[in-house]
């Protein structure tokens, strides 16, 4: 596969390491009263869609950016690639 890196342009996916669902960015609040349940959900349950999937890839053999890639799990088509740091900021992880 080829990942169109937002900074570097098209790069072979073999340069990247896959982690999984981009919801892993949304780490729950450990102080919340339902933290145990929330972390179980965060850690273990997945939508696992047959279709579009936001997922985390690490440019291990490249610039060491984590990326959020929107990829179709049926066709492998990639429709969007963003720096995970930007996504994390947009999702309010900066505190």
């Amino acid at each position: 596969m080829i990942i169109d890196h937002p900074l570097l342009g098209p790069r072979d996916s073999a340069e990247f390491t896959y982690m999984g669902d981009a919801r892993l960015i949304d780490r729950p609040d450990p102080e919340a009263t339902d933290a145990a349940e929330a972390f179980y959900d965060y850690g273990y349950l997945r939508d696992n869609p047959a279709g579009w999937h936001d997922e985390l890839w690490f440019h291990e053999a490249g610039d060491r950016s984590w990326l959020v890639i929107t990829r179709n799990t049926i066709t492998h088509e990639i429709s969007k690639v963003e720096l995970a740091r930007d996504v994390a900021r947009a999702r309010g992880r900066s505190k």
Binding site: M1, G20, G43, L45, R46, N48, H53, T73
Partner: protein
């Protein structure tokens, strides 16, 4: 019709006119005691054991395509019970024992071939881990043997023990491991279940579950509603897709695993062998093809096809231990969808919806598990209780922190 050598001769002499379809092609009934979704190895085995062991023949297996077309029809055919953890080993050993009597049980020759499986060892740390595993196997009543490099070399004289980047320091063998003609497993179970009255309904896709007040009443299908006392799902690879129709999210991701076969070659490999310093395992089929594989591609996929990096990685492993394979040719590559679970072990359990049961999360261990999976799932469906060898395969183990993690990779499915 009973299959036998005599029957083959008799039919040959009478123009093969007497052979009948291996299973019927029935219309679905309105209601069954048990509807099993998924006409793969596990679903068909479940039906066979429900009918044969638990005496329930009001059973239907519904399959969206053709039976045996999923992972039972596209794997590397290996059977073994060389597991480490208590949650797994008794189950897989139960499975291996069922394999050992399967041909007679089914009256179908699935060519179970116990030519052994050998895991190569390349470091002291790996040896320690394999000794622990071998002991766990023996303590669970399975067989295991530590083989020296010299013993291995005698069996595989062409093994690279002289110029290896990661020297071979021995191996853990399970001589009862081996291979099975995979398609025949599906067909054998189907034929047996059918002969006991189970309806095998092909080209029937489940479009939804009919759930009322937390109770599953049956399934909506492309051929209409089919009522059921209990519904068992055995569609590994597609578990997430199916269970989402019941509103469930699972501790499972779907991943692609590739496998490969070479051109037909005169026999060179006596048994199954796995490389311990890379991703490569291999056996040779009764037809002569080297059947081999390695790691999953590593990304979520339902595409049933993989990419080159894994092909290369696997062949590098092949050349690392068998440099004589350089001129053997890879004939075909294919890929299946794996239910990769969060701890690398399966789930066989009731769901929170009454009457709805789940069997999945097989990662790439599903084929060898087929008989036991069917047996214990039949047990669960018939009795409502988990089979003694499968008590650990619960949904709530993740919530409770009781994972069954053979590889120690944690909650990242693509690492299992």
């Amino acid at each position: 019709m009973r299959y036998s050598g005599f029957q083959v001769i008799k039919q040959a002499l009478t123009g093969h006119k007497g052979w009948t379809p291996a299973w019927r092609d029935p219309e679905p009934a309105d209601h069954y005691d048990v509807v099993i979704i998924g006409g793969g190895g596990h679903g068909l085995a479940t039906a066979h054991y429900l009918a044969k062991v638990y005496g329930n023949s009001k059973v239907a297996v519904i399959e969206k395509g053709w039976i045996g077309g999923g992972n039972v029809g596209r794997n590397t055919t290996i059977i073994r019970s060389n597991y480490l953890l208590d949650g797994n080993e008794p189950f897989y050993e139960f499975s291996l024992k069922l394999w050992e009597g399967l041909e007679q049980d089914l009256n179908y020759n699935a060519m179970i071939s116990q030519r052994g499986i050998l895991n190569l060892i390349h470091s002291d740390g790996q040896r320690d881990a394999f000794i622990r595993r071998g002991n766990a196997m023996i303590l669970n009543g399975a067989d295991a043997e530590m083989m020296s490099t010299a013993q291995i070399k005698a069996r595989y004289p062409f093994l690279n023990t002289y110029d290896a980047r990661f020297p071979i320091k021995g191996g853990l063998a399970q001589h009862r491991g081996g291979t099975v003609r995979h398609d025949a497993v599906a067909w054998g179970y189907a034929r047996s279940a059918d002969s006991r009255g189970v309806d095998i309904i092909q080209n029937c896709e489940v479009t939804g579950f009919r759930i009322k007040d937390g109770v599953c009443k049956g399934v909506e299908t492309s051929r209409g509603f089919i009522g059921a006392g209990k519904v068992g799902c055995a569609v590994a690879g597609h578990s997430g897709r199916l269970m989402s129709k019941a509103g469930m999210r699972l501790p499972i991701e779907s991943h692609v695993l590739q496998a490969f076969v070479s051109e037909g070659l005169k026999p060179v490999l006596p048994g199954v062998i796995t490389f311990g310093a890379g991703h490569f395992y291999c056996s040779q089929s009764d037809k002569g093809g080297l059947v081999f594989g390695g790691d999953i591609d590593g990304y979520n996929s339902y595409a049933q096809r993989g990419n080159l990096p894994v092909v290369e990685d696997v062949c590098e492993g092949a050349m690392a231990i068998f440099p004589m394979l350089g001129r053997a040719r890879l004939l075909r590559m294919w890929a299946g969808i794996m239910d990769m679970s969060m701890d690398g072990s399966p789930i066989i359990d009731q769901t929170h919806i009454k009457g709805l049961y789940f069997n999945g999360g097989w990662c790439y261990g599903g084929f060898k598990a087929t008989p036991a999976s069917g047996h214990v799932f039949a047990h669960l469906l018939a009795t409502g209780e988990p089979h003694p060898t499968a008590t650990a395969y619960r949904f709530d183990r993740f919530q409770k922190g009781l994972m069954i993690d053979e590889k120690g990779m944690g909650n990242q499915p693509n690492l299992h």
